[in-house]
Symmetry: C2
Subunit: 159 residues, 2 copies
DNA sequence: ATAGATTAAATCGCATGCGACCTAGTTCAA
DNA sequence: TTGAACTAGGTCGCATGCGATTTAATCTAT
């Protein structure tokens, strides 16, 4: 007997505690906000928002991606990326240009300033690491488990 | 030798792979988006957004909270909650009213419709559970680890 | 008793995210 | 080869989140 295993859902909807603290989704949701708040002062110094930082990491990993390729890596749609990339172009970090081979595509290249920011940004993961009072192995395992969880969820959507 | 343990940060900033997939923050960030996408169709049927759902869970847990108390539970600021609660009042789920004892506070109470929605919403965690191909113990452990991680990060901010 | 500090919400501005739709370039099939 | 289908980006609207600021109510120390 007992708790949430009650697949019938009968008899105790009004009694079910429904504790927010037991929700994995809320743990992820609130952990994400917590990360954002810790990152904010660090990224402010770089003149980046968190999603912009993610895009920069993707471009430092491999420059000259198209908007769609960036979307594949950071898992965002073009309707989010286009305005974001325009703001990044506005701050002089990237340069957007139509591909010659396929005029539908837009290639995003780092500017000199964008490449230079990489050295500045190198402290960010170290500073963040010191905020996470866990050993590296635990953090790597968590990262892996969450990535699997995410990919499992994303697979459900396309299905 | 080797990788990210290089606390000196010398010599290889440009060579550091900086792989997005290794970032715990990105795993959390993208897992959060994945949750949102899976939840969307379920919550659409209830007429809720995900943050609204979180607030409803908090209120089902304990009705008649003030805006600040809701913020403590869902970890959001009043500048986010006020418009969100107004929209929820607009859809007839809650009723907002100034406290008599302390006119600064606003008490949020579920309407009959809001209480009734609880039964409908009971399927959501079950449906989500079936999307997560993990055993309950793993999910509970992950929830706990993320909650600890989050609280550790939040403690850094107030410090 | 009352001025100043404190507190709870609310307002404003900006940057995401994404669904729905649009546009222009490319491909494919008859 | 040419019109339909497809594809890559982009636009628009709406709902978060949050920093900065404001307003109104309460508290506190003199």
């Amino acid at each position: 007997m007992s708790d949430k295993g009650d697949i019938t859902g009968k008899g105790s909807v009004a009694d079910d505690p429904m504790r927010l603290g037991d929700f994995l989704c809320f743990a992820v949701y609130s952990a994400n906000h917590a990360f954002n708040r810790v990152y904010k002062p660090m990224l402010d110094r770089l003149g980046l928002t968190y999603p912009q930082y993610v895009v920069m990491v993707a471009l430092w990993e491999g420059d000259g991606l198209t908007v769609g390729q960036i979307g594949d890596r950071v898992l965002l749609e073009t309707n989010t990326l286009t305005p974001l990339l325009k703001r990044m172009e506005g701050s002089g970090l990237v340069q957007r240009s139509r591909c010659a081979e396929d005029e539908r595509q837009v290639r995003v290249k780092l500017t000199e300033k964008g490449r230079a920011l990489r050295a500045e940004a190198a402290i960010v993961p170290r500073e963040m690491g010191s905020c996470l009072e866990k050993d590296t192995a635990t953090l790597e395992r968590l990262t892996h488990e969450l990535t699997c969880l995410r990919d499992g969820l994303l697979a459900r959507i396309k299905a």
